[in-house]
């Protein structure tokens, strides 16, 4: 499948994988900005701004924006994380040009004060909604504990206080520095007409003023802590643990994905057999998170409060057994079959493929075919997993427990 890349004079990049057999076209504007680019006074501004983008421009009202996307039958949305904000849509191939132009327009938003004040209420509702669902938000608290003062420890949502205090001028200023063309990549997958895509981008974004948007990368000093946060209305106890893992540009990240699958996939993993299959826990998992210049393994446990202490001990025992004895060839093979199959199945959806290509480009400035991605998983050996466990011991972590318990003893 052909891959194309191009760059406008103002620094905005356009990349695409073109699959002539695809039924649909997926496009996304990837903005390299997120919670890690914020400061205390504007905590939560990246996510709030993502909502405000839909509120219109000098030539489009908020109603116009929603109506236009619906008129072309686009399936569209946006998402904000610690380090990227992505605006995306799936459309029929004949709508490719039609969808790029309004997206580009809304990425130069009016940020009207009246809309800002209405949307503030929606954001606060979103924060309250998550607060009523105890496992939500726990990952942010765990990240805060693990990364400490490092910007990757910042909350994406912000707090009710920080959102209430935020001024529209703060948001305008953040926008000016972070939404510079050199900080944005237009990514497309599925059936793509690349010359037309570049022409649309040139017409819609070519006039954007170049500006410098930098991200200061600071070294991570991982914290080791153990915190219990009592939440009386919760029913289950939720325990999250974060340990150091390979970063986004570390070639060992494929081994890390396989290791997380062996240890903590939602079925067939060591934690599954120890804790979930036996009914001791409702859920137990390990995942690998990759960031620019940092990486982490996140372990997650939810269970009845009475079982939490013993389950944490069991979880630690599973991890120590792996650290001491390694992973077997058959476990590696099984995990690999799962991941390879997920890559192939995922690639059949143009939106999924667009996200994969975009993430790879943002983090590593490279394009990989589905086959190359599979090859990287195939190259991982049991020896590589053993080295990974030695280099990144999951047993050394920051833990947070959220639930009805007021006290919880750390495992030995």
């Amino acid at each position: 499948m052909p891959f194309h890349e191009s760059r406008l004079a103002n620094g905005l990049e356009v990349i695409a994988e073109s699959n002539p057999d695809a039924a649909a076209t997926a496009v996304g504007f990837f903005v390299r900005t997120g919670a890690r680019d914020e400061t205390d006074p504007v905590a939560g501004v990246s996510h709030f701004l993502e909502h405000m983008i839909f509120k219109g421009t000098p030539s489009r009202s908020a109603d116009d924006v929603n109506r236009e996307f619906d008129e072309m039958g686009a399936q569209y949305n946006a998402q904000t994380s610690e380090e990227t904000t992505i605006y995306y849509a799936s459309v029929l191939p004949e709508q490719q040009d039609a969808v790029v132009s309004p997206w580009a327009d809304v990425l130069r938003p009016s940020l009207r004060e009246e809309d800002f004040n209405t949307e503030k209420k929606v954001i606060i509702e979103e924060i309250r909604m998550y607060d009523d669902q105890p496992p939500f938000g726990a990952d942010e608290q765990c990240r805060a504990l693990f990364f400490g003062p490092h910007p990757l420890g910042r909350s994406v949502l912000g707090t009710i206080q920080s959102i209430t205090d935020l001024k529209v001028d703060d948001m305008r200023q953040y926008f000016e520095t972070r939404y510079a063309p050199e900080n944005i990549t237009l990514v497309a997958a599925g059936q793509v007409d690349f010359p037309a895509l570049v022409a649309s981008a040139q017409q819609a974004c070519g006039g954007w003023k170049p500006a410098e948007a930098t991200r200061k990368l600071q070294p991570v000093k991982a914290q080791n802590g153990f915190v219990t946060r009592s939440k009386s209305q919760a029913t289950q106890e939720y325990v999250l643990q974060m340990a150091v893992g390979p970063a986004a540009n570390d070639p060992r990240r494929h081994a890390a994905k396989l290791l997380a699958t062996v240890l903590g996939d939602d079925t067939g993993s060591r934690l599954y057999w120890e804790l979930v299959h036996t009914g001791l826990a409702e859920f137990a998992s390990v995942s690998h998170y990759e960031y620019e210049g940092a990486g982490a393994f996140l372990s997650y446990l939810s269970c009845e409060p009475d079982e939490a202490e013993q389950n944490m001990q069991r979880m630690l025992n599973v991890i120590r057994t792996a650290e001491a004895g390694g992973i077997s060839q058959s476990e590696l093979d099984q995990a690999r079959s799962k991941l390879v199959s997920r890559v192939v199945l995922g690639s059949e959806r143009s939106r999924h493929r667009m996200f994969a290509i975009g993430a790879n480009w943002m983090y590593r400035d490279e394009y990989r075919t589905v086959r190359e991605h599979i090859k990287a998983f195939k190259a991982v050996t049991v020896a590589a997993l053993a080295e990974l466990l030695a280099e990144f011991p999951l047993s050394r972590n920051s833990s947070i427990a959220i639930g009805p318990l007021t006290e919880l003893r750390p495992p030995k």
Partner: protein, 412 residues
């Protein structure tokens, strides 16, 4: 596109859609065993039995079952609804038949091992407990329970008492009396060959003996639910009213109307409740069908102090629907549906479920072209005639949160 179907002598229906552009294939096996068939004193028996079938079958114990599927790279799942127990999976097409062979053992020769009863019981009890931490989900389960009455409004999760009371004998009786090929539907989509698939499935499931089973004997009517006290920031609101079922001739008129109310970001509920007033993060409504009856289920969640206004505005918009839909709204609805249908072509899993569900409701499966024609046939006049004859009314309203709301009872 062609959809093939075959009814085996034992009553099992195979319905299959070849999708040549994909590398994957997916299946969805719907067995006519759901919570409605649980004995009144053992709520949760169907979901308990479903979990037990995963604990080894034919030549495989629990562990071998999971490992064999994972080596095939099969991404599998199961679910129990009020009417069905369903097993599904997606994988590379070449692994479809070996995966189906494993599931043939599962539905025909499960071991139902007594020694795993308590572990399974614990898994299910934990899932029921975890619901307490998901207020929105809980509110919607109560809405369904009160709207449809017993047994068709039953949640499949059962009750703590029911799960505690179930023993190995109950499981074996339920399996022997309910698991059967007659009334079962196997939907398959992806890179498959017909008629080879028909013959292969025939070898696996064609000689599974049919069973005679009685429909649930008695039914109770729906009722107005009480307010559910819940210590939380937000109040959850669920509103249901009667509507055409999927099999009814005017279903698409109802579906069109509900999509104007709540489909896409330019829909009425999203615009009026969220965009203009900032009342909540999440508000939506959709058609829900059982085989012989249907409803609209609407959800909104918001801060307790704004819940009354949210309920009032939402009900106002629902009632206003009776005044009819506008041409612009219909055009957006058609455009969105056209894309949604094309996007389904990217997913073998979506198609396998869709054609199996179609068969259950209609005794045949619609191609995407047929669905497209039905949507194209909608006019404002046809939808408005339906709305005039069936204005939204007879609302069933659930509230869950710190304080009850005023539910206007003029609505009967």
């Amino acid at each position: 596109m062609t959809i093939h179907s075959h009814t085996y002598d034992n009553g099992l229906v195979l319905v299959a859609e070849p999708m040549a552009s994909l590398e994957s294939a997916a299946f969805n096996l719907m067995l006519p065993v759901g919570a409605a068939y649980d004995p009144a004193e053992l709520p949760g028996l169907s979901i308990f039995c479903c979990e037990m079938t995963l604990r080894g079958s034919g030549p495989r114990d629990s562990r071998q079952f999971v490992e064999d599927l994972e080596r095939l790279g099969a991404d599998t799942g199961e679910s129990v609804s009020v009417s069905h127990t369903s097993y599904g999976g997606a994988m590379l097409a070449e692994n479809l038949l070996p995966a189906l062979a494993i599931y043939a053992d599962l539905v025909r020769r499960p071991r139902l091992p007594d020694e795993e009863l308590d572990a399974v019981r614990q898994v299910l009890i934990q899932e029921l407990r975890a619901l307490e931490d998901e207020p929105a989900h809980k509110a919607m389960l109560e809405l369904r329970r009160h709207f449809y009455g017993d047994p068709w409004g039953r949640p499949s999760q059962g009750s703590f008492d029911g799960l505690e009371a179930i023993d190995g004998g109950d499981i074996r009786r339920h399996f022997a009396g309910q698991f059967r090929p007659n009334g079962a539907i196997l939907g398959i989509a992806g890179n498959i060959e017909w008629p080879k698939l028909r013959d292969d499935v025939g070898r696996l499931l064609g000689d599974w003996p049919a069973l005679k089973v009685d429909e649930p004997a008695s039914e109770t009517k729906g009722s107005q639910p009480p307010h559910f006290e819940h210590e939380s920031n937000q109040t959850q609101i669920g509103i249901a009213w009667p509507c055409a079922a999927y099999r009814d001739a005017d279903y698409f008129q109802a579906w069109g109307a509900i999509n104007v109310l709540s489909g896409g970001m330019s829909s009425r509920l999203f615009t009026e409740v969220r965009e203009k007033r900032g009342l909540c993060y999440s508000v939506n409504a959709s058609c829900h069908s059982l085989r012989d009856r249907g409803s609209v289920m609407c959800y909104a969640g918001t801060s307790a102090e704004r819940a009354q206004e949210t309920l009032d505005v939402t009900l106002h918009e629902i009632r206003r629907l009776a005044e009819g839909v506008l041409p612009g709204e219909l055009n957006r609805l058609k455009a969105r549906m056209k894309s949604a249908l094309i996007l389904q072509q990217e997913s073998s899993a979506a198609r396998s479920s869709s054609i199996a569900r179609d068969w259950y409701f209609l005794d045949h499966a619609r191609t995407l072209e047929e669905v497209g024609e039905l949507v194209d046939g909608l006019t404002c006049d046809s939808i408005n005639a339906f709305l005039a004859a069936h204005p939204p009314d007879d609302f069933c309203v659930v509230t869950l949160g710190p304080r009850p709301l005023e539910v206007p009872h003029a609505i009967s």
